[in-house]
Symmetry: C2
Subunit: 171 residues, 2 copies
Amino acid sequence: MSEGLKKARARFVSTWGEMASQWGINKTMARVHALLMASDAALSVDEIMAALSISRGNASMNLRALADWGLVRRVSVGSERREYFQSEKDVWNMCCRIARERKKREIEPVIGALEECLREAGDGKESAAFRKRTAELLELVRTLDFVLGKLAQQEKNAVMPRVLTLLKAMS
Amino acid sequence: MSEGLKKARARFVSTWGEMASQWGINKTMARVHALLMASDAALSVDEIMAALSISRGNASMNLRALADWGLVRRVSVGSERREYFQSEKDVWNMCCRIARERKKREIEPVIGALEECLREAGDGKESAAFRKRTAELLELVRTLDFVLGKLAQQEKNAVMPRVLTLLKAMS
DNA sequence: CCATACTTTCAATATATTCTGAAAGTATAA
DNA sequence: TTATACTTTCAGAATATATTGAAAGTATGG
């Protein structure tokens, strides 16, 4: 493989890792994901361990997490016993899966907690300002939830191109 | 203050803190922000320290960071020497500021890095698949950048309501 | 200018998160 | 059933991140 391509892959992997850690996702998990995205063939655990200099346990746990997110799947190669891994290659699908998981794991619980705040605050005069602000925030988070829900409907991904067209037209 | 309102405020602060740490933002910074959002009056550093049980240094650093993000501002109260802090109270403005900062700090550098990956990969046949995937990802990240850019134009915040209307109509 | 009242900084410390590696677990082929 | 070839788990170690608190810095009024 050319030196340039090697360097480009390495940069790709570390960029993805850095970005992930800024968004609350484990850096190694993102590097494994990036490695598989950058690689055409499916990779074995041993290849992943070697490429990223990580332990077997670390690789195993992060591959499981990526599989839970629906970003990576196990594949069998020929008659080999060993398992291989490959990433979802369609970038739009990948984006939908991430949106769906973050919505479910992070946004929905926040909506529940904000609703509980409103309930707890009661309806007295002294809490009016707090209730107003909480309600506005709740509406915003519900909007985000709604938008992520749309994104996550990958079978209807015609929606997003239309939204982008509208946004662009409004410059 | 009623027990219910106290509990509601505490839940609000801790919910915001938890959410923030899932999105790569310092938990204490988010708790300070939530405390100020939940509070009508501006608060002094000492009040914030007491409310969240944090040190003066920690409060000072997180207030500075919140000011850098444009989420909190210093205010003078009467003729007092002491500084007070209050949060941006408009939820839409708050959202715009967060969008603007994350775009600038996190998305734009990733776009640069992905462009560099493409350059480095060269134009040989062996890197064709890598280039294709990187280019798709770059397009996706540019789209996110574009959407955040739109969001951040708070003077044109009529844009988002129209997008939401479109999305809802397409259910 | 000094005393005072406050704020900021940063090295040391504490806490939280991630990683390792060896032991336990599991599936397969013979 | 057993040997083999792999995978998973998790307690302890390593690392990264956040926090403290005291010293240094700064602005104000007199």
